[in-house]
Symmetry: D2
Subunit: 403 residues, 4 copies
């Protein structure tokens, strides 16, 4: 049944495959009057784009978006906004050798099981190519949350294999911190710990040369969100954010705040204690304890804070093991999420598998695949987080805004 | 905005608070003709019930469900099915001492921030009391999936603090394996590894006596699900299952299959290889490799398998690091999920906090709280998994069933 | 599939049958802080109640609502609000004579066709008994729209058989105008044209005595709605209002404004011309031309008008053939709807029909049925209109409110 | 809030404006394996196309659809299907004279009121141009219902001004009956009563020459639908069909079956009596009484009837005043709907109006507008009916199909 829509109030619907004419997203519920141009979309589309560096797939796609509707004279109109990104480098060559084989770790088998047939030219709808539509939509969501409450979503590669980045204050990271090295050159692995970044690149290269791939983890931090976003029961903000990230290809785990670390903790160690926010700091992401990520107050000032019901004195927590959400509702502290991303399933090395008739065979992918998914995963994950926050912001405003 | 509904085709909507008259669930989309009585509901309601053992909260609730509609002459009618569970032991005593204080780790602050006020008598809608409605609905979902495809959902406590259970074949666990000790007495911590169970109970008792609480992890396994459930993009089965579990109180992390373990793996180690299923075994959960959980073929025979498109020869994977889902769609292998549950936030020991006016104060919970949430978490988590599978089963049948 | 939910942002879900324990509604998305008590519900429940006069069914139901959740200290909390109305006079006597027969005009046959069986004790879920849940929810919606924008929904019986009421200014009608005769006694047929009301009562009595029933039409007018409610394409306000009314039992036609009268008109006759609103009048329902209904400005003053984007000078139309909606979006003029309601299908006179095996037989309803559905239809229709406006108000606020 | 989606299980989402790059629809939930090509779409797109005859707008649009996704090797894949129709003849010339004026009968004012601004180049999203996306999607729905149950949807112009068509058996009409005159030339007004058709064309021409426009009514008949489609309460088939038609521009009224004619009827006259279907006839649309439309059994044979629960003997009604739906659920009789369409609001003759600042002015539309909307309305209305039936068919199958 219809499953290509995400969100309630800020709602996206996507279509498109890896080897068809293109991918399209319709964004419904966009507030009117937001300045928007193609340039706003290309920043993140370029971060997601194949061929951007030596450690990602070399498929060549310009990924130039066309806004089909919903923008007039440089501003959103409030009606549905459609964006089309055409596919270019499809190389729909000879698929006869893989047409009937099930690639390990891929959706070939499950598509056949579900639909009775599948587009065998590269994954079809199950290809990560579809995320181009999400990233385009996410760019619109980022514009909205920045304008609405100074919201910002920044992700980075926190781990590749056994290489773990050390980042003191994830909530203070800017886009530049993630995208650029100190010398201004591109940080191709999107890890702000430069020493770790170098080792990550090395490890990815090593895997690529070995005809193998490697897993990793991403951390995504959203700052500026006011307290009050999220619904008490099913549509908890944590639940919708988890769905958002798990809906991305290759994600096998999601945690927020202290995450799985809570399993071995006692309540007395775990609880974050409330305290009054220092008067001179912003409310949304102030942090008075060093044991968890802290935001830079000036970077996430909320233009809308005057419309919130609970105002003065502002209340924060001394630490942020709760990852910015209590009872499924945002607390105003930085929202911190972590996702586990499996190693790329497509391998140039030969693997045993079966044909769709169940006969044993072997397969190897002579393709242009990412040896590690993480660098391109970052903009995808940021997009999903931004879309979720935009949705819950509008939901909050509809039900709870003071009129 | 409306956030008290879960599911698309098999859809539940709940209402109710901890200290109001009761909790109610409306289940919409239930197929007609399923045998159902109050007795079908009480099994799981009793597993969730407070006061069931010394290691859970001593609040006393009979939790007797009343079916208000949707059942006639012992069978579901196909129209909306409502179940009411009245609250009994509310003890709405004197709340003046906590009325204006924010309990650490609770939703007191976020409710005030969102709604401008809150029900201060024990959490209101944010109390885990609301899960009684989910568990009642989950019992109906369990009936449906058992009838439709021999589906079974069994969870157990896999870890409490540093005590980790060893379970060789989680997919083979029955309800009795989890609920009873070898001598037939209740397994109050719901851990089938009896040695670990004893140490868990000990640890929980120790925490309770210390005025503290402890975290843990649960593993939930669903067997019998045919390949093909789940949607390719946003409504991936893994995404909806993750949302289902994250929507439960206190869940800080969810993973499936190898989960966060994938971060340090290479593709060549990680991929599960396809193979033809042995002819003499059932299709849905056959397992030919020992490194992951395996199902007992006879216990999850699918009466509906003849209606599936991919039939013969059946195809399985040699291992189950993928946790039963590829491309977000079920493979027919056991679906294996793990959730991290934080230590109970309510503590009898004094904690620092603030009033709603931001003034420093202290708080201690003189309540009847679970020192560890895990034992009662199991039926809640099973319910959410069953609801998700029931929903995706109907969604699959609507779109993809051969007519 | 799940079809017992109405609305997006202000969303109700209902359950219950005519001969079960009761009917329940969960209202999701109610803004917090609205004063609400059981008394607010009973006004309309009493208007809908069976047994209220000699011209309606004599089934005896107190229809006392119980608020199960969502209200604390006399105000809505913002979380889901559940209301239960228990059935009392069910008379589940001997149904053996009608159990296998299909009553003409009823859903007996279609329920069997859809579900394979049905609750034969009086219609089950297809009985108009279910509307008790809608009317309870509608009372909450009326409170919301009154508070939010001075909104008011009043309906009346405009026609019974060939008796047509003359009402000069439907938009000026108050609840009292409809409910009471000039002498203060109840207006049992709910028609403010007293001469017509008397003839209607006479006609209904005549039909009842003849063992027959009679059709009619209702007009529903909503005033105070600001311009801007409704979505441009599928969720046009007119489309959602039409669905709302058509979802009620026995409705065979709906029109708004000039309605079917437009079929023979030319554009030059039909268009309503815009003009500036006189400064001294309210905006929402001002009317400068006598050919259509006009509102009393003072009775529908909008406390929220200051938050609308288009403010000064206010613009109205000189006539209201457009029934308050253009392009599917409210114009601020009175919203005027008309519904055709068929004669009651249940007749005490013998009618030919078949058994569920297709064998010819006869049937007569020895029941307590309304000889004309219109008097009790009015509160049902008002409820559906109020629910739709409440929903679109929250939808507007979420997307378009200036922050 | 998001309002550009229609349907639950077979769900379309559209975007696009009259003067933007194009219109796009994403169809979600399409069953896999349905043969589909661009040619299947062009039949109805051509019937809707501007410039097709002298009595419609002369805007020139080829309306060539591009399938962007969801079709592979000539069959639907089961994943989301996107169709793009580019705009060609936009004539985005000089709009300075109408930019600030509100056209009577149009959505100019309501868009400004809702969104704070509008696309003034011809209506933007409120233009009937958006229906091109619906018609493309409707063609896919028609394929599905034809394949699933032999379903067919045919509409015709039943009235223009005072000219009323006489059609003995609407349920027997074929596409050719509506599209072609007896001599094979196009029936440009889409009225199968040729004498009436000629008078309609004459009347439309007369209005066009007078700088005026004219209203009318359409009748839409769906045959072949099995009994059991539609939900008992809110999502009644009649309610969803009414919403479908009311969501189209210019529709002011909808009725089904006897419609508003029921207002003056008695129950004894109104009820349609059940009877066993003659053995030699098909079930879905058999008709044994001449007073209402009858289907040709052979033309709507249901390949799926064997899977329905109520089978033998088949039951029909002797007449069809109920328009094919009882209790909101299809009976298997022809579904007969009628819609009132207002005269075109755009007039070349000068009309009084105001500017957006409320100042009096005049306006005349120097455009290429339909003097009567009915001829092009037919494919739009058919599309909406087909989409609704496709949706309810999948919903029925998901919940109620025997497995």
């Amino acid at each position: 049944m219809a499953g290509n829509t995400f969100g309630q109030a800020f709602r996206i619907t996507t279509a498109g495959e890896s080897h068809g004419p293109g991918n399209v997203v319709i964004i419904d519920g966009v507030p009117p009057g937001i300045p928007l141009s193609v340039d706003d979309l290309t920043v993140d589309l370029d971060r997601r784009r194949p061929g951007q560096s030596k450690i990602v797939t070399q498929r060549s796609e310009a990924d130039t978006p066309e806004i089909l509707s919903g923008v007039f004279e440089g501003h959103t109109t409030g009606t549905s906004l459609a964006i089309l990104v055409r596919n270019q480098d499809q190389r729909s060559g000879d698929y006869s050798d893989i047409k009937d084989k099930y690639r390990p770790g891929h959706a070939d088998f499950t598509f056949d099981a579900k639909y009775g047939s599948r587009d065998y030219r590269g994954g079809g709808r199950s290809s990560a190519r579809e995320t181009v539509a999400r990233v385009a939509a996410g760019a619109v969501a980022k514009k909205l949350i920045a304008e609405a409450f100074g919201g910002r979503v920044v992700g980075y590669v926190q781990q590749v294999g056994h290489v773990v980045a050390q980042v003191d204050d994830p909530a203070a990271l800017t886009l530049d911190d993630v995208e650029k090295r100190p010398d201004g050159t591109p940080n191709i692995v999107r890890c702000p710990d430069i020493a770790a970044a170098d080792r990550m690149v090395e490890l990815i290269e090593e895997c690529r040369k070995a005809g193998d791939s490697i897993g990793g983890a991403a951390e995504i931090v959203a700052t500026g969100a006011p307290p009050g976003l999220g619904e008490p029961v099913f549509d908890k903000l944590k639940a919708d954010l988890a769905k958002a990230l798990f809906s991305l290809p290759a994600v096998l785990g999601v945690e927020y705040g202290i995450g799985f670390g809570c399993v071995t903790m006692r309540g007395s160690q775990h609880n974050d204690l409330f305290t009054a926010a220092p008067q001179t700091r912003g409310v949304s992401n102030a942090e008075t304890d060093a044991d968890c990520g802290s935001g830079d107050a000036s970077s996430s000032k909320s233009p809308d804070q005057a419309r919130h019901r609970v105002l003065s004195p502002q209340i924060v927590t001394r630490s942020n093991r709760h990852g910015g959400m209590l009872g499924g509702i945002s607390t105003g502290m930085p929202i911190v999420l972590r996702a586990a991303v499996k190693p790329t399933s497509s391998l140039p090395t030969e693997q045993a598998t079966v044909t769709k008739h169940g006969e044993p065979t072997t397969i190897s992918t002579k393709g242009r695949h990412d040896p590690c998914l993480l660098p391109r995963f970052i903009p995808m994950a940021e997009a999903m987080v931004a879309l979720t926050l935009a949705d819950h912001w509008l939901r909050w405003r509809g039900q709870c805004a003071a009129t």
